[in-house]
């Protein structure tokens, strides 16, 4: 079997809320491989967002290791981790997190500005990403002139434009109505099948889970198997 894109080895992360210690992830090991569409499932407070943050190298584990293509992220400098995020990881946030002073197209282009790309190639990639999410006619709209679904499409295009190894999506449909949520999921499934984009997204929406091949169930900061998860929900 090919080497995992991402490997987590007994990763733990505890938050300090004043004098209280809150263990969010309590020892998770997992592997993600190229081309997978994986759903991270669990109730609120189960540690889904923390785990995505650790996988996305925007947080550091207290214990354990996060390896991206076999490289321990902890050995990288902060600038090197920034570069890794820019080139290898795409993020889609629940609240879209678009930059309000930039229009849709400029938001998509933003991560490419950090790369040494010729302007023509940058333009071509942005056009393609925007076309992929079906927003060509809204390219010059600022975020506040777009609907929730359109904003999330911009966020997806921004995550895809750098051709990352992995796209992480934290509750990408939570702020959307069910129809829009279905369309966004359709888009992710299509991108996964057609372009082989690797996705890891968190959700607690049963309908969305049904569309995804691989499920990772998280409970109280630990990965559990499907049966245990169903028992917990019951």
């Amino acid at each position: 079997m090919a080497e995992a894109l991402i490997r987590l080895e007994d990763v733990k992360r505890t938050y300090h809320l004043g004098e209280t210690l809150v263990p969010a992830v309590r020892g998770v090991s997992l592997e993600l491989h190229a081309g997978e569409l994986t759903a991270l499932v669990g109730p609120s407070g189960s540690g889904k967002s923390t785990l995505l943050n650790l996988v996305g190298c925007i947080d550091e584990p207290d214990e354990g290791r996060v390896l991206v293509e076999g490289v321990d992220v902890a050995t990288l400098s902060d600038d090197a981790r920034s570069g890794l995020r820019n080139r290898k990881i795409g993020f889609i946030f629940q609240s879209f997190n678009l930059v309000p002073v930039l229009d849709a197209r400029e938001n998509v282009e933003l991560p490419l500005l950090l790369q040494d790309l010729p302007a023509a190639e940058r333009r071509e990639r942005v056009d393609r990403a925007i076309a992929d999410v079906g927003l060509a006619e809204f390219a010059h709209h600022p975020p506040d002139k777009l609907s929730g679904g359109q904003r999330q499409r911009v966020a997806i295009a921004r995550a895809l434009v750098t051709y990352p190894l992995l796209v992480l999506a934290d509750e990408p449909t939570a702020n959307l109505d069910s129809e829009t949520a279905r369309r966004i999921l359709d888009l992710m499934v299509e991108l996964n099948e057609r372009r082989k984009v690797t996705f890891l997204f968190s959700t607690h929406d049963e309908k969305l889970m049904a569309r995804v091949g691989r499920h990772l169930h998280l409970r109280d900061g630990l990965l559990v198997d499907g049966e245990e998860a169903r028992e917990a929900i019951a």
Binding site: S49, T50, N53, G56, I58, D59, E60, D78, D79, S82, G83, R85, N86, R87, F91, F93, S95, N97, V99, P100, V101, L102, E106, E109, L110, P111, L113, L114, R158, T162
Partner: protein, 454 residues
Amino acid sequence: MTGAWKLAFRNLRRHRRRNLVTGLAVAFGYAGLAILFGYGEYAERLLRTSSVYMQHRGHLAVYAKDGLRRAEAKPSAYALPPETQEKIVGALRADPRVELVGRYLLGGGIAGNGCKSFPIRTVGLEPDVEPRIVGHREMIDLWGADGVVPLAGRAFFDAPGVETPIALAPRLARYLEKDRAVSAAAAPPGAPGALDCDAPDIVGRLSGEPFVQLGARTQDGSFGAIEGQAVGIFRASSTEEAKTGVYAPLEVFQRLFDTDRVTYVAAYLRDHRELAAFERDLAARLREAGVEASIHRFDDPVANPFFAGTMAFVGGMVFFIVILVANVVAFSVLNAMTLAAIERSREMGTLRSLGFTRGQLRGLFLREAALLTALAVAAGAAVAVGAAALVRAVDFRFEPPGSGTPVQLHVMPSAGALAGSALFFLVLTLAATFVAVRRKAKARVAALVAEVAA
């Protein structure tokens, strides 16, 4: 990073109300400092010109060794003999940086009108050099063409046919009852003869003739006296000089003091900014020529304590105000940028997750601060120049301390002051911005992304 300036500019526009307030603080702070620097430059120029040209110190004066302190008390030992004068004048004239060279004899004595006598301070000057000093473009720039002509009568160097022309300081002329006499076209015929100082018409008689008797201890210790003819009243450069000053051609006072020496030789430079280098070169040249001399610049605290003290006071005042303004501006910027960083925590986290480094993130905010400063400084420069033009148009005049001649107030900052202030503000705002965003930029990316905007 491509597009960073665009992003910075749009963020400035996005928070335009807050940035307008911050920008106004920067603009008015900048305008205030630029005007203050303009005033400081003007005060320096005024004092420098007064010291160099009106007080005849030159940019630099060469005395015999220890001559500054002792030449007047013991001129026979500490004034410059002719052969030394020749060497010094030769060394000065050989340097192309020197515009003018003048020899001066300072002394003390008494002046009388036949009824009353007063202590005087004499300044012997070279008649062929003095017109170029008094009419120097720097003098005319500050005092105007009308401001450099004598207060009454003629200059001592402009009295052909008068054997011993002297110019009196304003108050001394009044004490001697010669303030009207100097306007007489020519001396009345004949000697005045013995005066009855108690006669009722004595004031009229004294003011009707220009003769002044000058007496002094000669350099060999005997008593010397000459009769001078007051031809004009000069503009004194200090209150003290206004009460005691008498100007005359060098040879007149050399006769009075029975000497061929001078107290010092002054050099007037074409460009005062070359003074330090010139001073070094001259010292070396005089050493080579075997001249033992003391060189004193016009800003030497020993030779010119008034200039040094006043400039120290002005400098201290400017420094104090700069600190005040800098604090106000720095805290305004710090406040605005801290608010911006707090409000935009999530945006900062998003940018970091997209691959922005801490430095690139700080760079975005620093660009915003730089743009804000540039716009504010441009507005502030317009305010400063406008205010300075208004002050000039109002034609406000005042008498500088120690000077009897009113001058027009100028506060127009030079290009250097404008540029220097702009640089100062840029550094200040960038530093304040750096402090404001440094902590946020160092925060965990996940924590930033999770923050809810204020």
